[in-house]
């Protein structure tokens, strides 16, 4: 091959990433499949780190790491109750880089759950679930898709948790599926459908394996693709609302000729761009390639580097082989469910069914309960929003610690020793108190400010801190027999055989 031809191929590979002109930049996006998701130009406001902290990107990269490590692990792990634990031990000791694959997969799983929560917090606090006034976007629907992705992430993590088939896995899933059984009427049926029987055994393992490796990944990638497509369809990150407002002050909006795309042809109306007054010019925007692509590349590389780096220092535990006859003390669900498990300790119905349902439903309904449209894209919306956020944090802190104190110092069964009705204790317990206190706060703030947004901010911030405190309590402050231990108190040593 002559030097000339080689240059040609090289040029062909490189030009979308290093465009020589704005036109080339735009063509590059359209011509390259890997770039097709990006728009031609991106507003400087969207590009800024503070707009999104790139949390969505980081989460997606972590999902890709999980998929890649997961596929390799599928060659090395055997989903049979006789062989699963053995294959895990071999991964840890006898497979070259098996330890790395395992640690990377596990740390990425935990990171992803944390990241989807952080991403949700960011989207809420910047009000990016709001449809906007200038152009009616479908961001509320995209928020609902996002909450679904949160649930899918938790399900993926939960199904994967069983696969090592050690004591931690077996009993965490025992606890988790027993929480599911707390649903009235159909709870036991749900539990048996998940387990493939009445006890946790081979049918359970293969069910969780297929869900974890095939069905849930397919669904999560489909919903994630829809989620990202919706962002493009809505014109980009919500902060572009500020670009639109600014554009309105410059010149009147003119409709742009544009095609309308939809997923299954169901969408009605015209595509957002047609009515979008945003004029992205040289002052307020840059071509996506290379400016956004380089940032995405940077964020991805840092995410991968940090993930691998963490894998070098954080070990992946593997406890003793699963033993249905021996319950470890304490027996805990995965960390993201420990807040629930703590509340289930007060009442299985409240903590296992009602509170999670209200939380998921409540989250999904946020964009429909709060229809104010100001300050979209700004953290906490504005000054008062920040103040109500702080109020929410403090209120959440005080009430959660208060309900915890009641649970520890004044258990309901001690206060009402003569009442035998289980239903009474399902209604009167610290979890219900917390729920009522938060609901009360929402309405109080709403009344005082007449703003659904401020009330939402306060309640959401209270929810964040309650989630953090309850999870921390379940993780670090509950020891054997679910007794309370301060962080400086040592847990009693575990007896061993020799």
């Amino acid at each position: 091959m002559s030097l000339f031809e080689k240059n040609d191929i090289w040029q062909k590979l490189i030009w979308p990433w290093r465009p020589e002109s704005n036109r080339e930049a735009g063509s590059g996006i359209v011509a390259n499949f890997l770039l097709h998701w990006f728009p031609n130009r991106i507003s400087l406001r969207s590009l800024a780190l503070s707009a999104s902290l790139y949390l969505g990107t980081i989460t997606f990269v972590v999902l890709l790491v999980l998929t890649v490590t997961g596929v390799v692990l599928m060659f090395l792990y055997v989903p049979s109750v006789e062989r699963a634990y053995w294959s895990m031990k071999d991964l840890d000791h006898a497979v070259s880089f098996g330890w790395l694959l395992r640690r990377l997969h596990r740390i990425s799983a935990h990171l992803m759950v944390a990241l989807v929560f952080l991403h949700m917090f960011r989207v809420f606090l910047t009000g990016s679930y709001k449809a906007g006034e200038i152009v009616k976007s479908a961001r509320p629907f995209n928020w609902v898709l996002g909450v679904s992705l949160l649930v899918l992430t938790l399900l993926l993590s939960f199904t994967g948790y069983l696969l090592p088939w050690d004591q931690l896995a077996f009993w965490a899933i025992t606890v988790g599926t027993n929480i599911a059984a707390a649903v009235p009427l159909v709870g036991e049926t749900i539990r048996q459908f998940l387990l493939g029987g009445t006890i946790i055994g081979q049918p359970t393992l293969i069910r969780f394996y297929v869900l974890h490796c095939a069905l849930l990944p397919l669904v999560i990638f489909a919903v994630a693709a829809w989620h990202m497509w919706r962002i493009r369809k809505d014109g980009g990150l919500a902060i572009v609302e500020q670009d639109r407002k600014e554009a309105l002050t410059r010149e009147p909006a003119a409709p742009i000729k544009s095609k309308t795309y939809s997923v299954l042809g169901i969408a009605s109306g015209t595509t957002v761009q047609v009515n979008d007054p945003t004029t992205l010019n040289e002052d307020n925007s840059v071509p996506s390639t290379p400016f956004l692509t380089v940032r995405i590349l940077l964020v991805s590389m840092l995410t991968v580097a940090v993930s691998i780096g963490l894998s070098l220092v954080v070990r992946a535990p593997l406890e003793a082989a699963a033993n249905p006859q021996v319950t470890p003390n304490p027996a805990k669900a995965p960390w993201y469910f420990l807040g629930l498990q703590e509340m289930v300790g007060y009442s299985a119905l409240m903590g296992g069914v009602i509170v999670p349902t209200i939380v998921i439903l409540g989250l999904m309904l946020i964009p429909f309960l709060d229809r104010e449209q100001k300050g979209i894209g700004y953290w906490f919306t504005d000054g008062p929003g920040r103040r109500w956020g702080i109020f929410g944090f403090l209120y959440g802190l005080v009430t959660t610690c208060g309900c915890l104190a009641i649970a520890l110092l004044a258990p309901m069964r001690g206060i009402f020793p003569n009442i035998e009705s289980q239903f009474f204790f399902d209604l009167v317990n610290p979890a219900t108190f917390l729920l009522l206190l938060f609901a009360g706060m929402y309405f109080a703030v709403l009344k005082k400010t007449s703003s659904t947004r401020y009330a939402a901010i306060a309640t959401f911030c209270a929810f964040i801190i309650a989630f953090v405190i309850l999870t921390y309590t379940g993780t670090a402050l509950r020891g054997p027999n679910w007794d309370f231990y301060w962080p400086w108190q040592a847990w009693p040593t575990h007896p061993t055989a020799l």
Partner: protein, 175 residues
């Protein structure tokens, strides 16, 4: 000949239209029919689990008082010729409870039921506590411990426990 222009409520009144709607309806039902086996196959008809009804030994082989059958997670109580079986699985989240014996057996009345209690049950996982006849009185457990049906095997005379059949807490098998 009626044309598709003459439609009322957007429904094509011709034979073609009717056949089309009928086909769509049949296809929809067909899809459900096709989907049913996919879902039903995931509900097991047979289970590779230990049998729900099993023999645990002759009545004489059990000592007076309480015996914990570790494999089955059941507490077997014997009071001379009266036998009853209480589940050792905590009703909260499924951990195995421990029996905490009293120094001396004592008469107890729980929910209008009087009996001789040898001890009570404590669950190590979240601190649930149960009286000697199974009633939950502390911790997060929502329901009392189950009592299981006991009978004598006609074939061998051994005690047979049936964990698929619950009985009330005053059930006693008199041998």
């Amino acid at each position: 000949m009626a044309s598709t222009d003459t439609v009322d409520n957007g429904v094509d009144p011709t034979r073609r239209g009717f056949l089309g709607r009928l086909t769509a309806a049949v296809a929809a039902i067909g899809a459900l029919v096709a989907g049913w086996p996919l879902l039903r196959s995931l509900v097991p008809n047979v289970l590779y689990e230990p049998p729900k009804k099993f023999r645990i030994g002759t009545p004489e082989s059990f000592q007076e008082g309480v015996t914990f059958l570790e494999k089955h997670r059941i507490f077997l109580f014997r009071d001379s010729s009266n036998y009853h079986a209480i589940s050792g699985i905590c009703t909260h989240l499924g951990c195995t409870v421990k029996f905490s014996a009293f120094p001396l057996p004592q008469e107890e009345t729980v929910r209008q039921f009087t009996y001789r209690a040898l001890g009570e049950f404590h669950c190590p996982c979240h601190g649930s506590k149960f009286r000697g006849e199974g009633t939950n009185y502390a911790g997060p457990a929502p329901r009392p411990l189950k009592s299981f049906h006991l009978e004598l095997s006609r074939a061998t005379g051994e005690l047979v426990v049936d964990v698929a059949t619950e009985v009330s807490r005053d059930f006693r098998l008199v041998v």
